[in-house]
Every structure is written in structure tokens, then in C-alpha cells.
Amino acid sequence: MSVAIVGVGQTPFSRNCGVSIRELCFEAFREALEDLNLTSKEIDASIICSAPEYDKQRSPAGLISEYLGLTPKPTFYAESICSSSSTGVKVGYSFIKSGLHEIVAVIGFQKMSEISSAEVQERMGRGADTQWESPFGTMMPAGYAMYARAHMQKYGTTEEQLAKIKVKSGKYALLNPLAIFRREITLEECLKARVIASPLKMYDCCANADGASCVIMASEEKARKTTDTPVWVAGIGAASDTLSTTGRSNLTGLTCAVDAAKQAYQMAHLEPKDVDVAEVHDCFTIAEIMAYENLGFCKPSEGGKLIEESQTYIGGKIPVNVDGGLLSKGHPIGATGGSQIRTIVLQLQGRAGKTQVKGAEVGLVHNIGGIGVYGNVTLLRR
């Protein structure tokens, strides 16, 4: 029995949504159910995905499932920080495949605007090992910056190559009405921006955001009754790496992504060259370059060259993040994975508008939690 994604939804990602988390989720849920032959009463279970402590509501699963009219169906909260909603999709897949449920809603959200950026980084810092690493003033940009430094040292990757990731991002974000930043950015602007954590500068980093996403999954039988354009889950991979930086053996790539990709390709009987369009977790520019290598779009060391040669633009070898990616869309932690999946689903359904990759049949989503702690790769097929 195959498992399908039948509906996807997303709110605009913004700096200050001005609404409550349940209202935010409702908006994504409503888009996901649009045009489906499905009412909310037919949804068997929901999985609510986010990272805690950015807003005051604890245990939001009950709150949100009530507001969406999903009570008395079971619900719970799933978290793997930035990849929470990909984790939700994996659990949704197994709920359906195991026969426990037939239709599952995976709802991701984050409202980060209630607290300052330094407070957000403090919470993110406490997502590191609070005993041995947080006391040193850890934060997300610093973690990825250490990978960037090692990648530059070992492979000769340049700050210009990093900046070119952001230039691509800006170009496509211009066409994404849901993105926070919808403007093209020049290479020069990127290179002249202030340093956040060397060698990463302002435009090498994604922005905190408010937003929600929703993915509706269904068994093959239910999917066929619900929509004419189901998108099939072809492969799912998930792996972890140590939370501690000291536990890492590889400083120039994310082994959790390598492991997850291997599993997903194997399950789907697909190879990197079969992927027509991909969404990768570009929380920082270096993350996208490592993703190229970790997913097999190029060899290790050649990520910088791949963007240099514009091979990840539409028309290139493998179009990546043609919705603008996290760098321009914004990164509302729990909602991000669902947004990536939505982009690929729309691509495979031929509904991606100006950024449509023609004839896309196979899409990939690469969603990472923390600084390479939780790796998730999902392969979808038309």
C-alpha cells in the first residue's frame, strides 16, 4: 500500500503575523483542504510540529487540533527542532502504512515574533548540550559557521560561492508571494554585509519568522477518493548525529543528511540523478552547499563549484530551492519542513507557476534539525 500527500497549505511567512498560533495554523489547514473531496471530520489523527518556548502556550497539540475541529481524534506534539514537520510526515507515513490511521494531518507552526532575536538565539543555544556547550554562548549561526570554516579550509570553498547561494535565493523569492524577503540581492551586498559569525555574514543567515504549514497524508485508497493529483511518498530517511559538537567526526558535511538520503534513495529505488527538483535546508548558505554534496548532487568538495556554475538554477543540472529557500522565505522552525514539502508537491502537481520545473516527476526534500543533529530526507513522486 502506498501513502500519498493529498493536500498542502502554508501561510505567508512574516516577521510579525499579528495573530495567535491556532489562528495561524487554521490558515495553513484551510489551504491544504482546498479543492479536496474531504472534510476535517474524516481526518483520523493529527501531528502538531514545532519547537517549544518561542511562545507561552505549552502542549499546543490539544489547542490546535481543537481549533481545527479535529477533536476527538488523537493528536500529539512532535519535535526535532527545525525538521519537526518532516518528522511529523515520517510519523504520519507510519501511522497510515501500519494501518492505524487512513488520513493524517501534519501541522507545523512557529511564532517567533513574541521575543527578541537574542532571546531566540538563547533558546536555540539551549538546544545545544546545555552542560558542555551552551555555557560558551553557542548559537545556530556559530555552529554552521564552524562547518563553513572547515569546508573553506578543506575544499577551498569561498565566501563568494556562499554569497551566490543567497543571490539565487533572492531571485526565486521574488516570485514567491509567501516569502518574507522578496527582492533580488547582489553578490556585492552579500559580501559587504556585517559579520554575524565569521565567515557567515547577514545574508548568509536565514531569518526567524512566524508561519504555519500543513500536509494532509492519506492511504492509497483514500487518496484516490480525495484528489485527482495525489503525490506519492516514495522514500523516507531519517538519521541523527551527536548533539555535541565534540562528538562529530565530519566537519565538512552533515552525516545525518548523508545517512537519511541513503535510506530514502534505497527505499524509493532512486538515485540522485533521478531527482528533478529539490528543496534543501538552507538555514545558512553553507548548509545548502553541504546539502548538494550530502545528497549526491555533486561530489564532496564540489558544492561551491555547483552553485558557481549555476547548476542549481532552473535549467541547470538540478534546480534547488526555487521557492527562495529558508534564506528568503524565512524559517519559522516548526513550519519549515511542511513548507518545503508544499513546494515540491506543487511542483509535482504542475502547479508551481513561474518557478515550475517542466515535467518534474521526482522531488526531494532535505530538512535538518539543529546544527546537523536531525537529518530528514523525503522523496516524493508524481
Binding site: G125, E133, A142, R194, T246, L251
Partner: protein, 137 residues
């Protein structure tokens, strides 16, 4: 003695390896070694996942290490804003374990290079809190 004197800001006060802080005050940076399989742990841990043993011995590190990677932070999380810029580093100890710590402020940013020799050293803050940092070897 509890662990809450460790670090500029402490988020954790109780741990089986709280003695680490006591040793650190005496100028010693200690790892733990599993008496069952012989594996060395740094940061120290009280339990060995490889054989589920809890029989560990404290062992002093020489402090000799080499820089693996680093970053200089110009923006900081709440609680650390007054410290910017500071350089976070990962280093490889000669005993094989790795250490995550700040580079000493005495090292200029343009002197830093991956592979350079460093010395892991205890550091006492003026307010009595304790930590370790990476100095030029």
C-alpha cells in the same frame, strides 16, 4: 559540590560528573575512562554506552590540542551580548577526544589558523565562576 559554577552561564546544576568542577578549581581538566572497555570520554561522562557500564575513572588531560575549526561571533544570544566578539573553537586533544571552548582573547583573529597548536587551560572568572579556554601553546 554542584556543577552550577561551571561556565559563564550555567544551565545545569546536578550531574554525576560534578567533581569535574572541583578538579577544575584545582587547575586540572579531567576526562573519564571506562574501566570496562577503556574508552576515554571528554566531556567526561559517568556512563559508558558501549557496554552500559558505570564504572569510570577520572583521568587528567594534558591540555595539548590542535584547532579543528572556529568562528568569531559578532552577535550573541541573550546573556552573552556584552562579550562580542568572541571566538568559539573546536579542538582535538592529543588523547583523541575533542573539546569545545572559547579561544583566549590573547589570540588575535589574524593569528588563528586551523591546525594551530593550543593549550586547554582552566579559567576563573572575576565573579568566582570557572571554565576552561584554549590558549596559544
Amino acid at each position: 559540590m554542584s556543577f552550577d559554577k561551571f561556565g559563564k552561564i550555567s544551565y545545569l546544576s546536578e550531574t554525576k560528573v560534578a567533581d569535574f568542577a572541583k578538579y577544575l578549581e584545582k587547575g586540572k581538566i579531567m576526562a573519564t575512562r571506562c574501566n570496562t572497555c577503556g574508552k576515554l570520554y571528554f566531556p567526561p561522562q559517568a556512563d559508558c554506552p558501549d557496554d552500559l557500564s558505570t564504572d569510570m575513572t577520572w583521568e587528567k588531560l594534558s591540555g595539548k590540542c590542535k584547532l579543528l575549526t572556529y568562528t568569531t561571533a559578532h552577535f550573541a544570544p541573550a546573556g552573552f551580548q556584552d562579550d562580542v566578539p568572541y571566538t568559539i573553537a573546536l579542538a582535538q586533544c592529543e588523547e583523541g577526544v575533542k573539546v569545545y571552548a572559547l579561544l583566549s582573547r590573547n589570540i588575535n583573529e589574524n593569528e588563528i589558523c586551523i591546525g594551530m597548536d593550543l593549550k586547554l587551560t582552566p579559567l576563573q572568572f572575576p565573579n568566582g565562576r570557572i571554565t576552561y579556554e584554549l590558549k596559544k601553546a
